[in-house]
């Protein structure tokens, strides 16, 4: 009579303890390289690395097919930076990650068909020119220039977003629109425009709703 009773108590205790044995025994994840052009393990509805790569690749190809930019008799001086590239979206981001990739990609692909002006380095160049002209440093090897290069065209653009939420399901959606424009710095004519848009939707687990 005692044995079955003891057994049942032991089973009950084991069952109760089983509820406690929730040890977080995840082995962890070693560092792995992830292709930045693909969606990684952490995802959201904002602008991510694969979006930056896809949009800059598309803009780059589009810009190189524009004859006024890429096939002019005289290679135009182009300024590509984030100074006039505005973020009006709900995504916090470093705009330089977009414009830098665009400039580097264009510079490599253009092969001399466009000349790139590093306006974001203007201060650095001015300081060095002053040192050379003051005689503090020698004249180096390149011939002296009358002035820093001016720009023929400069990149402008805007990032905007439209967000929507469904309170019943917790579904969130964001439409992102990024426009790129190349502006003639004498006439303000827009000589090239490109647009990249995408929308993402996601639903968080119910424990967060």
């Amino acid at each position: 009579m005692r044995r079955p009773y003891a057994l049942s108590v032991a089973i009950a205790a084991a069952l109760a303890l089983a509820a406690c044995q929730r040890v977080d025994n995840t082995a962890g994840a070693p560092t792995v390289y992830i292709d930045p052009g693909t969606s990684g393990p952490v995802k959201g509805v904002g602008i991510e690395s694969q979006d930056v790569i896809a949009m800059t690749d598309q803009m780059l190809r589009d810009m190189l097919s524009q004859p006024r930019l890429a096939n002019a008799a005289m290679p135009p001086n182009v300024i590509i930076d984030s100074e006039y590239f505005h973020n009006e979206s709900s995504s916090r981001l470093n705009k330089n990650s977009i414009t830098d990739r665009l400039r580097v990609g264009l510079n490599r692909a253009a092969a001399g068909r466009m000349q790139f002006v590093g306006r974001h380095y203007a201060d650095m160049v001015a300081k060095e020119r002053d040192l050379k002209r003051q005689g503090t440093v020698d004249k180096a090897t390149l011939p002296a220039a009358g002035a820093q290069k001016g720009g023929d065209y400069r990149l402008g653009g805007r990032i905007t977003s439209l967000d929507s939420r469904d309170p019943k399901t917790g579904m969130m959606q964001r439409y992102n629109q990024i426009i790129f424009e190349m502006v003639d710095l004498e006439t303000s004519e827009i000589v090239w425009s490109g647009i990249y848009e995408f929308a993402k939707a996601a639903q968080d687990d119910i424990i967060y709703r």
Binding site: A16, V23, K43, H86, Q203, Y208, R209
Partner: protein
């Protein structure tokens, strides 16, 4: 017989004791590697080292919560870079979408409490994380990202149960408009202020020439309590007002002053969210718990009655043998029934005890209760403002001189009444009660025996006023 009874009682008590304090490993604090933790703490503010140590020990489950608390504390200390890192990390956690996540799945289980999930905060806490990140962008003069941050915050407020309370966090569109104003985008600013005006009809809008934003935070953070399966919010703050005065070196004889107006009541935002979808799951758990408990009670009462029958003295002498045998059969049957019912009762009670239906009550405790503010036009020569706090009855509670932090075309003055450094390095309810009450001791670094050893008495109180 007495020994057997004692043995049974002991087994029952052991079984019951084993189920008490059923805490998952995720809720415990770990002991971080001392070498790396000391290297990590090296550049942290001295007054926050124990807090950072606890953040390391509590790991991923409380990562966002500790980031928020420490982000605000370092923001108040003027450690902008560190604060940026902490809020960026917090927002990364908030923005990560938990779909098919193992820990999220566990939190929905019957025998697991909601507390095991990674903390993301309630909407008001998430909005405030975006708010402070936005203020850091304002301090840095990055007005576009400041606006994006405030806008991102507003989106977190879109899930209130009642339509009227959805996306009504007026502070966010106000600051969006201010950021757009500072970046020179008048049309965007007008759009944002229109959105603000639709929520708040009283607070004055910034004038075109305004170039300084003053934000004054008063009161203590809303407190979360678990009302059974429902999460409730309590106000713990008072209602101070703020008067602002300054001296313009160009007009030293003038003593201009102004009052901050209420831009946001954080408690109101916390308490008008309504029920969460997850509350329905917790209520289901609570109902199951209650049924299991009732079944347990009924079975145990049945077991006692059956045991009484089983232990009643047998038939008297002189009764017929047949009657005696029948009575013995009844007693034996009652004994088996008592054992069976006791087992069912015990299991039901254990199940009821193991079901976790309490709402998660971890909360951001160094937040404020209200945000007041105003915008002003001040020359660059005015470098600081005096902010004085008053009780609702007009009694002066103290004041401080706060420098204007200018970046780009705008300046920011931010002040919190009271300290932003949490008294307890552990966030409220962030770990089981016994760990909450234990002192926080940073062990000495292995290489240097003279390294820092700090201990604090267990503290459960709230931030003290300065």
């Amino acid at each position: 017989m007495a020994a057997a009874g004692a043995s049974r009682l002991t087994s029952c008590l052991v079984a019951a004791a084993m189920t008490v304090g059923c805490v998952t490993a995720r809720e415990q604090e770990t002991s971080p590697d001392l070498g790396s933790v000391h290297a990590y703490l090296d550049d942290k503010p001295t007054e926050l080292r124990r807090h950072f140590f606890i953040a390391q020990a509590q790991g991923q489950r409380n990562r966002v919560l500790n980031d928020m608390r420490l982000g605000l504390a370092t923001f108040a200390l003027g450690r902008n870079q560190l604060s940026e890192q902490l809020f960026d990390d917090a927002l990364q956690g908030i923005e990560a979408v938990y779909a098919d996540n193992e820990q999220a799945k566990k939190a929905r289980e019957l025998l697991t409490r909601e507390q095991v999930k990674d903390f993301k905060g309630e909407p008001y806490e998430r909005v405030m994380a975006y708010y402070y990140r936005g203020l850091l962008y304002l301090r840095a003069g990055d007005f576009e990202n400041a606006r994006a941050s405030f806008k991102g915050g507003m989106l977190q407020d879109a899930f209130a149960e009642e339509q009227q309370y959805r996306a009504d966090f007026a502070l966010m569109p106000f600051l969006q408009g201010w950021a757009a104003h500072c970046s020179g985008n008048a049309s965007l600013a007008a759009e944002d202020f229109k959105e603000f005006r639709a929520i708040n009809k009283d607070a004055p809008l910034p004038r075109d020439k305004d170039n300084v934003l003053v934000l004054v935070e008063t009161g203590d953070a809303p407190v979360k309590i678990s009302d059974g399966a429902r999460l409730r919010i309590k106000r713990s703050g008072s209602t101070e007002t703020a008067r602002i005065s300054w001296t313009d070196p160009d007009h030293p004889k003038d003593h201009p002053e102004d009052s901050a107006v209420l831009l946001e009541d954080i408690y109101r935002q916390a308490s008008t969210r309504g029920g969460r979808q997850f509350d329905a799951i917790l209520e289901g758990k609570a109902e199951y718990k209650s049924v299991a408990d009732t079944v347990g009670n009924a079975a145990l009462i049945g077991a006692i009655l059956a045991a009484k029958v089983a232990t009643e003295s047998g038939p008297r002498r002189g009764t017929k043998r047949k009657d005696r045998e029948r009575a013995e059969d009844v007693q034996q049957g009652a004994a088996i029934a008592a054992g069976g019912l006791a087992l069912i009762g015990l299991l039901s009670k254990l199940t009821a005890h193991a079901i976790e239906s309490e709402a998660d009550t971890r909360y951001w405790d160094n937040l404020s209760d209200r945000v007041q503010g105003l915008t002003m036009t001040l020359s660059d020569k005015v470098t600081a403002l005096r902010v004085e706090f008053q009780s609702p009855g007009g009694t002066m509670l103290g004041g401080r001189d706060i420098p204007i932090q200018r970046a780009g075309r705008c300046g920011l003055v931010w002040i919190k009444d009271g300290t932003a450094i949490p008294r307890n390095p552990r966030a409220p309810n962030s770990v089981p009660a016994d760990i909450m009450a234990s002192p926080v001791i940073i062990p000495a670094a292995p290489a240097s025996p003279a390294a820092l050893v700090t201990a604090s008495p267990p503290a459960t109180g709230r931030d003290s006023k300065e």
